[in-house]
Structure formats: C-alpha cells, structure tokens
C-alpha cells in the first residue's frame, strides 16, 4: 500500500508507524494530546508535519478578472493533531484545503504531504495517492445515493482493488460501531438522517487509515446537537487513533474542538 519509498528522510518515523494501514494503529511515541498547542511541527522534539505548504499561490481567471485566492501561504500541519482552518467566506480557506488535499493544482509553491511532493505526481499517481493517504468529509456528506452505507464506507478500498477481504469488512463494521451507525449499514443514504450520513462519511474517510483527514465544513448542514456529535467523533479519531485531521470551518464553535487554529484572510495566513 505504501507509496512513500521516495519520501524524504524526515518522513521515516511516520512511515514506520503507518506501515500496516489495515489495522487501527495508535501512534507509538508520545501522548498525542500532550503536544503544546500551536507549536510548529518539525521543531526539536516535534515530529515531521503531516503536510506542509511553501509559497503556495493560486489565481483564477486572467487580466482584470484575475482573483488571487492564495497569495503565498506557508503552513505546516502537525501530525496527530486536530487543526482547524478558519476564515470568512472568500478568504481562500477552501482553496487552501483543495491544494493541500491534491484536489486542485496550485499556481505556485509546493505542497508536501506525508513526505511526497504533490506537484511531482501526475493525475493518476495523485489520484492513487489521495485514495491511500487522504480522507475527505464534506459539508453536504456526498455519499453516493445508490450505494448503501456499508458500500459507501468500503468504496475507497474497492476503488483500489475490487476484491475485498474479510478484514476490510470487519474494519468497516468496527468503524461504524464506534461511530454509532452499525445498525444503519444496509440503508441507502436517503434513509439516513443528516447526522447519520455525516458519520457514515467519516467512516468512509477513516477506512483507509489516511495520513490526513480533511473535513470541509463538516457541520455546515447539521443542527447544533448533531454537529457536536460529529465534531466529537472527529476529535476522538485524533485522540484515540492518532489521526491527523484538518477541518475547514467558519464557525468558532466548531473550531473550539481543534488543537490548533489557523486563520486565513485574503489569501494569507493571518
């Protein structure tokens, strides 16, 4: 599964930790929650960042209509922590997330995720990289309407190899259980509540044990009680599984669940 053989030396420790993505593997070193908030990763005593951006720019359109969504962003996303990216609408936070997640090509600068420079990957390699190293949770859930909850959760694995082993099914069930949707696994998304859909989406994001989990306004379509549940689940995945989570949000309440908060304004880190 690992495609990180070309990865720089700084990533080795993380690679060893993630050598077997088929199991829920707690991080071996340190207490994830004990890292001092806001301390940049890569400093002495810290671990290499899960993702880092350098001089990231993104422009849309040409000439007078040109929009600078990102104007040179430098950012390290610490490993094993819950990072929130905040900012008002149009600040560039979604663009930043898309570039970090390899969903969009930046106009300039580099993005390194889990030791791999995303700019060096072609579309297919990038797709496979996403499949194996990055998980997504969207604002509008984006479950495939014609697949059951279980099929949705297993989908990322199935895209890689059409044959699923029992271990994968077992793991899907475990995730569903810990997220409280185990009894809804055979339902279609249309038969689930919003909160249930989002929890299925989180299970889908976690099934591959990704290096990075991106959540784009995960509570934007949910009421406050359900929002709290979903955020709690995300936080638990950080605490209990050592998962690195990056959440884009404009709600301070949601950001309060995060370990670190990064604010984006007018295309720059404020």
């Amino acid at each position: 599964m690992s495609t990180s053989r070309r990865a720089p030396a700084t990533a080795t420790r993380r690679d060893a930790a993630q050598a077997d993505p088929g199991r829920l593997t707690p991080l071996p070193a340190g207490e994830p929650g004990d890292d001092p908030a806001g301390k940049p990763a890569g400093e002495p005593g810290g671990r290499p960042p899960a993702a880092s951006a350098r001089g990231l720019t993104k422009t849309y359109g040409r000439g007078a209509a040109q929009v600078h969504a990102l104007r040179g962003v430098d950012l390290d996303v610490p490993s094993g922590r819950f990072t929130a990216i905040m900012g008002p609408s149009g600040s560039g936070k979604s663009t930043l997330m898309h570039c970090l997640a390899g969903l969009d090509q930046p106009s300039g600068g580099t993005v390194v995720v889990d030791g791999t420079d995303l700019g060096s990957l072609g579309d297919d390699a990038l797709t496979v990289f996403r499949r194996e190293h990055i998980g997504f949770v969207f604002q509008s859930f984006n479950l495939l309407p014609m697949l059951t909850a279980r099929q949705n959760i297993l989908l990322p694995l199935e895209l890689g190899s059409p044959r699923l082993d029992d271990a994968a099914r077992e793991r899907a069930h475990e995730l569903a259980e810990s997220l409280g949707v185990a009894d809804r696994l055979d339902h279609l998304p249309a038969e689930l509540s919003g909160g249930q859909q989002q929890r299925v989406a989180i299970a889908r994001a976690l099934i591959t044990s990704p290096s990075l989990l991106f959540a784009d306004e995960p509570t934007g379509n949910l009421d406050s009680t359900t929002s709290a549940e979903v955020l709690d689940h995300l936080r638990r995945s950080v605490r209990e599984l050592g998962q690195t989570v990056v959440m884009v949000t404009h709600e301070p309440d949601a950001a309060a669940y995060a370990d670190d908060v990064v604010t984006v304004q007018d295309g720059l880190i404020a």
Binding site: L103, D104, T127, R130, N142, L144, M146, L159, G160, P162
Partner: protein
C-alpha cells in the same frame, strides 16, 4: 419571460444538440425520400417516350407469337420491342443471363444511341450497351457468343451504344431477324410493336395507341409503382421518426429535471405556471424549427448526392435530378420535424407545471430524479401485452396479416410501457455478471428506471426490427432453399445422349473450379414403346430446361398407335444409388422403386404417363452393339428384378415394362432402380452430376461446365440458375432493409450518448467525490463506458428476443402458408453479431460524455452548484 426564454436558450441550446440531431436525421430521411421519388418520376417521364418517338402508333398486348406474326406481315414499317435473356460470353468473361433486344430496321424507329461504331445491319452483327461493354471488356470489332449449347451464335460487335431510356433497355442489340433465332426460347418476351403509318389489322386482343396515349398509360402505372416504393421508404422514415420521439422525450425530461430549481425560482419571483410552461414550450419550438431546417437541408443534400452517385456509378440509372425542389416534400418533412419535437416535449413540459415554488427554497439542490412505474402505465402495459399476444396467436392460426401487424405493435408498445419495470432488472442481471467492478456502473444505469427504459427503448426498436428481418429472411431463404432443393435437386447435370462418357470426364469435372462434389451416373439407352402417341420426350431430351415442351406433347394425345416411333430418339435411363452425395434433397429424388421409372415433370408434363404411356415398355436401343453384354446383364438382373413379373428375359433384346412416376428437377433422363437398369443391359457412365461448392460463382461454374460438356458431347441441365436469382433477390432485400433500419439505430445511439451526457452533467458532483476518494480518470471513463454498454447490450438482448419472436410469428403467419417446405431457421451467426455491435455501439456512445466527465478537476466539480 422573453428574457428568460432567450437566456435559457443561450445557456441550454448546446444540451439540445443530441435531441436536435435525432430530429435532423429523421427529417433528412423524409426529405431525401422525397427528392429520390421526385427524381425517379422525372427520369421515367423523360425516358418513357423515347422508344416511341419516331412511331405513329404503338401496338400493345401483342404477346410473343402474335408480335412475330405481326412483324412478319408488316415488314420494315414495324419494329418489335422486347428481349430474350441469354448467356453472353466475351473472351474470358461470362454472364449467365443478359437482356438481348432488337434494333429497328427503319432508322427513324431506332431509339438507341451510339457512342461508337454503327448499328447492326445483318445477322451476325451486334451493338453492345456501353455499361455491359465496360463490365465485360468488349470493344468494337470483338466477337461475342450469345446463347449456349447448340443455340450459341457468334456475333461481331459493330457498335457500342446506350439506351436513351430505361424502358426497353438491353445489354446487347441485334437485328430482329437474328433475335428470332431464339423464337422458341422461353425467355423471349415480345409485347409491343411500334408502327410507322397505318397499324393495319391487329391480332386479337392487341390495341393500337398513339405514342402520347401510350406514354400516358405507362406513366400512370409507373407512378403507382414509384408511389408504392415511396410508401415503403416512408415506413422506415416513420420508424426513424418514432425513435426520434423517444430520444427527444428523454432529452426534454432530463433537461427539465435538471432545471427544476430554476423553474421553482421563477415561480418564487412571481412567474405564473402558464408563463413557465409557455416559455419552456417556446424553447421546444425553437429547437424543433432549427433542427427541422437543418434536416431539410441535409435531406436535400443527401438526396441529390445519392442521385449524383448513382449517375456516376451506372449509366441509365433509374434516378434523375428533379426538375425543381420537391417543395411539398420539403414542407412535409419540416412540418413532421416541428410537430414531432412539440409532441415529444409535451409530456415532459407538463411535469414542469407541477413544480412548486418551494422547491427552490429547499436546502440542497440535489434533484431526486428517481422515477418509477405508475399504476396506469402498468395496467395499460399489461392490457397491451395480453392483447398483443392474443392478436399474434390469431395471426398465426388464421394467417392474418392485419392481426399480425396490430398484435406486434400492441405487444411492442406493452413492452415499452413495462420498460421501467423490466429494463432495470435486465440491466442488473447483466451487471451482476461484471462483478463488483461493474457495480457502480450498474447502479448508475438503473437509478432512474424511466430514463433507463426510454433510452434503451430507442435502441430496442432498431434491434427488434433488425433481428426480426434477419431471422425472417433467413427463414424465408431456408424455406425457399428447401423448396428449391426438391424442385432442383441437382445443381448441374452433364448428360450424354449418344454414347457413354469417357472415364476421364469425371476427373475433368472435379478439377473445374467451383465444383464441390461430382459423381458418375450409369445408364442405358432404351427405346420407348409408347402406349399413346406423343412427342413430349424429345424436346425435353434435347434441352433439359424446356419446361413447357412436355405439356405441348401431352396435348397431342389420343393417336392410339402403339408402334415404336422410329423417329423418336432413345430415352436414357439412369440409376444413381449414391445420388445423396450431390443432391440437395439428400438423394430422395433418385430413390426409385424396382419396376418403376421416374420422369421429370418439367420435361414430360405433370403426368408423364400421358405422353409416354403408363406402364411404359422399354427395350434396349441399338441392340446390336449392346446385345452380347445385355444378355449377361439381363440374366444377372433377373434375380434382382424378380417380382416385376412382366419383363421379358429375351437374350437378344430385353424388354421391360415400367410403372411411370413423376418427379422434378433432373432433366430428360428417366430414373430407375439399379436392379431394373441391370436387366436392360450393361450400365455405362452416361452422366456426371455436380454439386456446386458453397462459395462457387454459379455463372462461372456453369459456363465452364458448358464448355466442357461441349467438348465431350454432353448436354447440361442447370439447376443453379433459379437459385442464383432467388438468392440475389433475398440478399438485396436484406441489405436494403438493414441499411434503412440502420438510420434508426444511429438515432438511438445519439440518444444513448445524449442520456449519458446529460446524466454526466447531473452527476458532476458525485464524480468529483469519487475522484476525490481515489477513482482515477481511466476508472471514471471505464465506469461510464460500462454504463453505456450495459444499456446497449440490454437493448440488444431484449430486441433480439422480441425480434426472433416476431419473426417466428411471421413465419407461422406467412411463410408456412406460402411455401410447402417451410423451414424455421434462426441465423445464429448474424444474431450473435448483434451483441458485439451493441457493445461497440455503447462504447461509441460513451466516448464524448466520458471524456467530458473525466476532464473536470475534482475541486472544480466539488465547488459547483
């Protein structure tokens, strides 16, 4: 609303391209039929008068014999129109049957035009049609051979020319006197004469008209024929229009479903229902008008292009350019296009009415495009299915064409109505074969049952008709073959009526290209002791194809002399125990019981006993030559033939009395059992029977065997000729029908591509999610291609089942009634080809939508709204 209409058109017109294409193709079809029909009419009008241009009167309804007599009475003032069909040989080139016409003696009655050379003035000279000359590489000064066997005549080519009209057109023109050389040939058909001056006394039944009157009468008939042809073509155009309706309906339904939010917003800001629906219908009108204009233009281009092409490929093409644009057809085609578009958009636009303004305010713009099968639809579908099946049963039992067409239409309509229930299940069934890799594609293909059903329905129409035609024609062909097999059991027979054939003839025949199998058949020449006088056998014996001769002979019955007619040529008796090796009926025709002789009804009349007597007494001919051996043969045969009772075992001249039975299709010889033959004398090789190879060129084969037969003194009976004609005709019908149905298949493919393309737009967000989750571009393209293939293969499978079923009903209704030896035949090979064609079609339909879907970056699609 006007601003809205214009803006919608600007924004959505590209999405109407596929629906527009369907209309364009259908309208173009109708208009092209109009151009071709008008053009043919023009051409016939222009050419019809040519043969009569120099005449004062045209005498019609003469009949061949009367025409000959009439021409003889009036000399040069009369020229007879008509032709014989004769084999033509020029150097190495051979043709089995070419029309041979005559050139008038009087120059003002000659209506043919010459490219080079001059007209024939005496016997032994010929003008060859330019097209035939090119085809068979004939030039002025060459010698060509007309006719076969003893009737063959060598002619010097003195001119190359052309007919100025398709009427009376022939490949070779000779003088009328020369044509009368074949006055006894069956193929000589003369019917009309053109006359200078007073037509004089006419034979019974003949009518004299002025050329103008005659042309007018002819035209009326031709117009009828052309109209029939146009009607047939319009049936296919109608099928194309039906398929277009399905495609257009689907397009509008999908587009409107995608725009529900827009409509709701319009209602929110205060547009009335009527305003929204009116705007949408005006959109349909614009699409219909634009597409119909395009279709009319394309149809004219297509029609004129075909006429020009036909003109370039053949001289004397039956197609000519119309005098002016066929305005009525143009307007008709245009109207059809607009009306069809409006009709097809009616139902989908009605659904727009139901949109509630609230729909715009719902949180997520996700359109629930799920549609199911309504109860009305299911009930109506069930009624149509049951009614259709009942009508088809009636059709098969009563041989009723009307109930077959009505039942077929009802059943098919029922299947279409059941589509939303039926098609997704079939798609799932096929998709399950693909394993988990195909699951996404399968789920996508069936998620909107009605859309899936309509999309497949358009292809279903084409596939059903295609497979029905394929199976129907294969069955017809098999039945015709079976009939042909019993009517013409032998492909070719070389028969020697004089002495036995040399031993190496068989080898020579087997060495001839195109011969599949050949056997030597032994026989004995006998004299017939006729019970009743008649000359039937002789004509047949000389010329095996002289079908009518036998009946003439039987007409002369009643003489009552029982003497052997010394002038009669001997009869050849053959025995072929191994006929099964070459016969098309498995040798049944040659299996004759002891003590009987089978005679060919084509030669001796339906009841050969009338002409030869029944029983007939035969004795060995030319007893002196065969006498000594005949004694031994007779003695040996006596045991075999014991029980015949009647035969005389005289040592010198054995005489046998035989019961006469009738058969068909082997020529002038009589067939007897081998035991019977042995009692008459020593059987010698007298014939070689040939079975053509499956891939043989019949014309070349018969030509080569005729040449061979000439050198060894044998006659040739040709059973292949009739088969070639039948085969060619069925082949042309199959090809033409499939070509015409192809149009509807093309429209259906546009429809599949369209549905897929619009679905791709609708699912852009889902595709983005899949890409984000790790679906590669290639996997995405493959998923969409699989979806299209699932749809097309489902249509192909269902269509094949329906088509074969319809063909079976047609077989029960028509073929069984028309042919004795009707044979049900499923053309597995052709039907098997339908499936790969369906796969390829699905792949083609998926190319553009898949490319578009895969081109979008995931981030762009995720931020889409």
């Amino acid at each position: 609303m006007r601003t809205v209409l214009l803006a919608s058109l600007r924004r959505h017109l590209r999405r109407y391209v596929a629906a527009g294409t369907a209309v364009v193709v259908a309208v173009a079809f109708v208009v092209a039929v109009g151009v071709l029909t008008t053009g043919t009419q023009t051409r016939i009008t222009a050419g019809a008068g040519a043969p009569f241009a120099g005449a004062d009167y045209v005498v019609t309804n003469l009949g061949t014999q009367n025409a000959i007599t009439y021409a003889a009475q009036h000399g040069d003032e009369v020229a007879v129109l008509g032709s014989a069909t004769l084999p033509l040989r020029a150097g190495d080139e051979q043709a089995a049957g070419k029309f041979v016409g005559s050139v008038a003696d009087l120059p003002r009655l000659r209506w043919q035009t010459l490219d080079t050379g001059r007209f024939p003035e005496r016997e032994g000279e010929a003008v060859v049609d330019a097209w035939t000359a090119q085809e068979m590489t004939i030039a002025v000064g060459d010698t060509v051979t007309l006719g076969a066997g003893g009737d063959a005549v060598d002619l010097r080519v003195v001119g190359i020319g052309a007919a100025s009209a398709s009427l009376g057109q022939a490949s070779v023109y000779i003088t009328f006197d020369q044509l009368l050389h074949w006055r006894d040939d069956d193929t000589l058909l003369l019917d009309r004469a053109v006359v200078v001056g007073d037509p004089g006394r006419l034979p019974d039944g003949a009518v004299a008209l002025t050329p103008q009157e005659h042309v007018a009468a002819e035209m009326a008939q031709h117009t009828g024929n052309v109209n029939t042809m146009a009607l047939l073509l319009l049936v296919f155009a109608g099928i194309a229009v039906l398929v277009s309706v399905l495609v257009i309906t689907n397009t509008f339904a999908i587009l409107f479903a995608q725009r529900v939010r827009d409509f709701a917003l319009l209602r929110c800001v205060g547009a009335t229902r009527r305003q929204v629906v009116g705007s949408v219908r005006r959109e349909a009108v614009v699409v219909g008008v634009l597409a119909s204009l395009g279709g009319a233009g394309a149809g004219i281009a297509l029609g004129y292009g075909l006429i020009a092409l036909a003109g370039a490929l053949t001289r004397n093409s039956p197609l000519g350019f119309p005098d002016g644009l066929p305005v009525r057809w143009l307007l008709g085609g245009f109207a059809v296009g607009v009306v069809v578009t409006l009709l097809a958009s009616w139902l989908p636009t009605r659904r727009v009415v139901r949109v509630s303004p609230l729909a715009a305010l719902r949180p997520d713009g996700v359109v629930d495009a799920r549609t199911g099968a309504g109860r009305v639809r299911v009930v109506l579908g069930a009624v149509l299915l049951a009614g259709g099946a009942a009508l088809l049963t009636v059709a098969a039992v009563r041989n009723s064409a009307v109930s077959m067409v009505a039942g077929g239409a009802a059943l098919f309509a029922g299947v279409l109505l059941f589509g939303p229930l039926l098609v997704p299940r079939v798609v799932r069934g096929i998709g399950a074969l693909l394993g988990p890799g195909g699951r996404l594609a399968t789920e996508n293909a069936v998620r909107n049952p009605r859309r899936t059903a309509t999309t497949t329905a358009s292809l279903l129409v084409g596939v059903t008709l295609t497979t029905a035609v394929l199976t129907g024609l294969a069955t017809t062909r098999a039945s015709v073959d079976a009939n042909h097999g019993s009517a013409h059991p032998l492909d070719v027979a070389l028969t020697s009526w004089d002495g036995p054939l040399d031993a190496d003839v068989l080898e020579q025949v087997r060495a001839t290209p195109g011969v599949g199998q050949a056997i030597t058949v032994e026989g004995v020449l006998v004299e017939v002791d006729r019970g009743s006088g008649g000359g039937g056998g002789s004509a047949g014996a000389e010329d095996g194809s002289g079908g009518g001769a036998g009946s003439d002979g039987s007409g002369a019955d009643g003489g009552g002399t029982s003497d052997v007619d010394a002038d009669q040529p001997p009869l050849l008796l053959l025995s072929a125990p191994d006929a099964g090796l070459v016969a098309r009926d498995g040798g049944t025709f040659a299996a004759v019981g002891a003590g009987t002789v089978a005679l060919d009804a084509d030669v001796y009349g339906d009841d050969p006993g009338d002409s030869l007597g029944d029983p007939v007494t035969v004795r060995v001919a030319d007893g002196g030559a065969d006498g000594s051996t005949a004694a031994g043969g007779g003695a040996a045969g006596a045991d075999d033939a014991a029980g015949d009772g009647e035969h005389d075992v005289a040592v010198a001249v054995p005489e046998v009395e035989l019961q006469v039975t009738a058969g068909r299709g082997w020529g002038g010889a009589g067939l007897v059992a081998s035991g019977t033959l042995a009692t008459l004398g020593t059987p010698r090789p007298h014939a070689v029977w040939v079975r053509a190879a499956a891939d043989a060129d019949p014309v070349a084969l018969v030509g080569a065997l005729e040449t061979l037969a000439g050198t060894v003194g044998a006659d040739v009976d040709n059973g292949l000729r009739a088969e070639v004609a039948d085969d060619q005709m069925l082949g042309i019908i199959t090809g033409a029908t499939l070509g015409l149905l192809g149009v509807s298949v093309v429209i259906a493919l546009v429809g599949i591509a369209n549905t897929l393309g619009l679905s791709v737009l609708e699912r852009a967000r889902e595709h983005a999610v899949l890409r984000a989750l790790g679906l590669t571009r290639r996997q995405l393209r493959r998923m969409l291609a699989t979806e299209a293939v699932l749809l097309s293969v489902t249509a192909a499978l269902l269509g094949t089942v329906l088509g074969v079923g319809f063909a079976w009903v047609g077989y029960e209704t028509f073929v069984k009634a028309a042919l004795d030896a009707a044979t049900w035949r499923i053309p597995w090979l052709e039907l098997a080809a339908v499936l790969p064609v369906g796969v390829v079609a699905g792949l083609l339909a998926a190319v553009l939508p898949a490319r578009r879907a895969a081109g979008v970056t995931p981030a762009a699609a995720l931020t889409l709204d």
